[in-house]
Amino acid sequence: MARLLEHDSLDLLRHHGVPVPAYAVAETPGEAASALARLGGRAVLKALVPAGRRGKAGAVQAVSSPEEARSQAERILRMRVGHFPVRRLIAMEALDIRRELFLSVTFDPRHKSPLVLFCAEGGVEVEEIAAERPEKLLELPVDITRGLAAHQAAGLAGRAGLARPLALACGRAMCALYDLFRARDCRMVEVNPLAEIEGGRLVAASGVVDLDEQALYRQPDLAGRLGDEEGNGWRPLTPLEREMRAIDAADPHVGAIRFGEMEGDIGFMVSGGGYGLTALGQLLKEGGRPACTFDITPGRFEEKMYRAVKAVLRKPGLKGLVLAGNVSNFARVDIRVAGIVRALKEADLDFGKFPVVIRYAGPGAEEARRLIAQVPGVEWHEEDFSLEDLCRRIVERAYGRAGR
């Protein structure tokens, strides 16, 4: 997830020609009150957090006096939206909205192309509208090698039943949004609502921009705007997740780490995206409680494995550790195991009591077997040990034979 905060999204929209309301970012109630004067005396305050459903959480409030701005800002700045503490607000010019529309551009894996989504009835209820009256949600796949032509965009708005001046304005907004989507390597751009205000003018009353993480290298200015505040998509990073990011960042050229902390008690370092996901489902089925998920892409990553295992072992309350991966084609498993063995040797643990179950298969397995023999009590398995065997075994040993 690489989602920009709303003020950065609105900046991009404006830069690419989608009209946006005037706004300011405030970190204190005083700043919110002084922003109000610049915004014409009436404004909407919104929590600036990487989470949706802010309105439903009570973190969006219209204000019309400096006192009200101050007190409401104070209230919202004390809130949490989802898991995110509110540290900043966006104060946005109040709009007299006559009509709300919905507009977005995303990738559609089915058509293997960009897709424009447009609904002449927008707002927070757009999913319900699309569910009840699917004909209202219009879709236009775009040939990426040709781009979105003005006539296609205006035609789509016309199909939504909009009268000519508004249809043309919507068409222009679509082309501008598509331009942003392409120029800045976006995964998804959304304007909801796209608001019609007095004089038939359109403005983006809210905006969401999701960037393509695989293209951040060529959008360095945007990459810099993705701070830690972003979290993992639904909550801020935990200290252990931050530590794991630092371990990963120390050497960006070998094996990229993906790590998520969970509330359970079995250190679950099972790599390979599909293998890890399948094993995680199996562990839950067996009654296991994972303490984390972990993946690392192939490379010479002995040092990273060493530091990652050490970090996971420090998590309080762990009852066991699983280290595994799908059968390796090329990456030598002994390199991985060398780092693991170093970490286990340094841990002050009795592996007769604290179970460590390891399964790797592929090149380097014999050498890995020899390395593991240096840490007595650690279980080593190879290709005949399935992911079900693995999950059953750790649950059995971590929770005792009775399970749980």
């Binding site: 090698t145 399948t278 199996q282 298969a361």
Partner: protein
Amino acid sequence: MSILLDGETRVLVQGATGAEARRLIPTMRAYGTRVVAGVSPGKGGERVEGVPVYDTVAAARRAHGVDYSVLFTPARFTKEAALEAIEAGVPVVHILAEGVPHHDACEVVTRARAAGVFVIGPNSQGMLSPGKAKVGGTGGEVPDLMFRPGPVGVVSRSGGMGAEICLFLTRAGIGQTTYVAIGGDLIIGAAFVEMLALFEQDPETRCVVMFGEPGTGREEEAAEFIARGGFTKPLVAMIPGEFLETSPTPAAVSHTGALIERGVGAPSQKKKRLREAGAYVAESFSDIVPLVRRALGGAEGR
């Protein structure tokens, strides 16, 4: 037989002078892959592991004829390399790189479709037709551990799980016609439907194992394809991740995300649709081998 790749296929390696290609070309050749040439712009005239290197795909193609190009290029140079192969008229273009920008992948897939070129990947680990040929990292240094010739086609979104499935099939004495990793990215060339269509045409493939994942509509499209009669052989499918549907962690919310995934993407739905289309659905990994045995009608592969 096999699909897309066998011992006769004339394979070109793009990005041939890079470290990954230097490491993998010898294993591909040792397994039987007919690697006829390599391409690295500016390195024409060199040889890599005995393979002649050209500056351009067109030059390599003129000199050797090329049926299949496998791209070892880093993600950021992949679009240019793939478009070059497409413009040079290579019929199959296989992209291994992980991390190719989505806009680049989309452009490549769109241009390939217009040119009638078959694209595999990006983010595909590779492909292997047991006893004949392999491209990419699949099988690595230990292909016989995981693969043996036989009657089962295997197609997977995950390279690691595809290899793991082949390992357990092989250990059970059941061989494969071809194994292909279609790639884990959102935008890829050929997906399940395209591969099932090829396995349908292959007389030696008697059953296919498909490993899916949450998200996108690729498994649902496969179910529709079977229901339409496009694939008539037995299919064994596994799609993990059903637990995510009831997990308390809310997915990052956008209206667009919710709208585009209306009715597709959830593993439970994928499994339901595949079951309705007549596929055998594995609830856990150890179900796969017994289901394949059943699909093959008791007669195990030779």
